[in-house]
Symmetry: C2
Subunit: 318 residues, 2 copies
């Protein structure tokens, strides 16, 4: 094959991971840079260029690369733009696929990071063989990739599947990064879990290992560690988060009746701590016709690889 | 053509309408029976048989009919069953398409009544030429037909698109016919509007024309008539109903990013009384990327015809 490789790139609110992928879906090399420290998108692309060209040159040079597939928050598959992404340093509309194509001199295509993860999961992971599922990414933000009849749902404008921004708290909901209140993301993201911890510690006198950490420094990882040591407050936080997610999932099921909802990203590492309250509350809130029928599964791919592989799949089709 | 006609049948919670449709989509004859008065599904089918055979015989006899397409609440496209429909007199699982095929001796296919209406709208109505839209039926219940990439979404099990049963009131929500609380249907259906009227009249001393009607007898039509005469309480009820719908629509948009949401059924006759608060609240609650981009339209088909035409389209494909 003249061009045996593609690049897959996963842009998160915190980190950006990219890798060279061959036609069999093997990530042959991988690297990463920080997303959050780049206020200027051109400097960000410069830094990616420096790191990624090292991998590309090791693989035989740019002429071996068919194209670049990118998964990015608020990425528009139809236009290649990133538009109004609340968790990225750049505001407004960024023609990111075009900027990358110009920089590298090869074609680039872009989609929502969660859509890319869904494609990765369908091709190589827990959704293998499934035609109808929803991927929920629980990271810095909450994203989603919806697959119906074997195809990612892009909608009329290319932005379908922003389930992190459905409303789960109509009254007195938390302020979300998108500027609205009560979004699922404000509760079920890693930062949402940390906020839940601060709220419960500040509004109660309950004993907790989390009180040993300065309130502003508490992370979702700290909550997980405390829960694993039996801390009741930490377990309560996971139950609360799982309840919010499970209730939201029952509405998602009413929309597309998926075979499974697949959890991906940092928070899914909490295992049964988060899975049990999700399933319990989803079952309790679903219509009778779906009770006991919809699976909730964890991603079977390594966190970095799923998104990189999913994004890379775009590049074969450019 | 050997079999130039199909039958389209729309089963509502109150009435069942059926008609003979030709290949150009003309409803050449039509009749109806009550749904709600039939506790036994076999007697219901007998009554349909008597009425429908009159139309069929006038059209040249059963050998002129290719098949029967049925739109029914909780209808499963894959199995032909009606399963656990909260607004029908029959409980559990009813193999309705098979019962009809056996009774008439011709093939029968079945889908959700709202899915059938969506197909009718896409073929002959306001959604003509659209690939991505959501049909919301505001009748005895609240139903939905979701179209993505030009195809009705059936999901893994054939039941996708039950948007009348997403939760719009997590705490102290109204009891819904499905047995759960807080469903959209408990607020935005014709009966939901009548409930809103009773609630506001019982919990306030506000003057209203609606107080001239015995509380238990108030219908959504009464609320409409009062609002058209300038009644402030009636207008408040439409604003409340529109707010609930608009907020829910903003979440539907986050799912499938449709070009339009199309309103169908009795309540949509309220025109601007319901449309204005829907659009206002949908716009207020949507993510920035969708503001000003998603149309809310009324069905352009006569209420009976849309569902009959949509259901009949199924029968050509049997």
């Amino acid at each position: 094959m003249n061009k045996p490789y593609v690049v897959g790139m996963d842009m998160g609110g915190t980190n950006t991971v990219f890798g060279i992928v061959d036609a069999r879906g093997t990530v042959i090399s991988k690297s990463a840079i920080k997303t959050s420290t780049h206020d200027d998108v051109n400097l960000y692309i410069n830094d990616i260029y420096v790191e990624l060209m090292k991998l590309i040159n090791t693989a035989g040079g740019i002429e071996k690369i068919k194209g670049i597939g990118i998964g990015a928050p608020n990425g528009n598959y139809y236009t290649g733009n990133i538009e109004f992404a609340p968790n990225l340093p750049w505001k407004g509309v960024i023609p990111f696929a075009n900027l990358m194509a110009d920089k590298f001199g090869i074609p680039a295509a872009l989609t929502n990071d969660a859509n890319a993860a869904a494609v990765g999961e369908m091709t190589y992971g827990a959704a293998h063989g499934m035609k109808n599922f929803i991927m929920i990414t629980l990271g810095t933000g909450v994203g989603s990739g919806i697959v119906i009849d074997g195809k990612v749902v892009y909608g009329h404008d290319g932005f379908a599947g922003e389930l992190g921004h459905v409303n789960v708290m109509r009254n007195n909901g938390r302020l979300c990064g998108c500027g609205r209140t009560g979004c699922l993301e404000a509760y079920a993201s890693a930062t949402g879990v940390a906020r839940s911890a601060r709220e419960i510690l500040e509004t109660s006198n309950k004993l907790s290992l989390l009180r040993n950490i300065p309130s502003a420094d508490i992370t979702s990882k700290d909550v997980f560690d405390a829960a694993m040591q039996g801390d009741e407050v930490a377990k309560e936080i996971f139950n609360f988060t799982g309840k919010i997610l499970g209730e939201a999932f029952s509405d998602f099921v009413a929309f597309s009746a998926p075979e499974a909802i697949i959890l991906f990203g940092g928070l899914s590492k909490a295992g049964d701590l988060i899975l049990k309250p999700i399933v319990e509350n989803m079952e309790k809130n679903m219509l009778n016709i779906w009770k006991g029928k919809v699976k909730v599964l964890f991603s079977e791919l390594k966190e970095d690889d799923a998104a990189v592989l999913g994004a890379s799949a775009l590049a074969w089709e450019i």
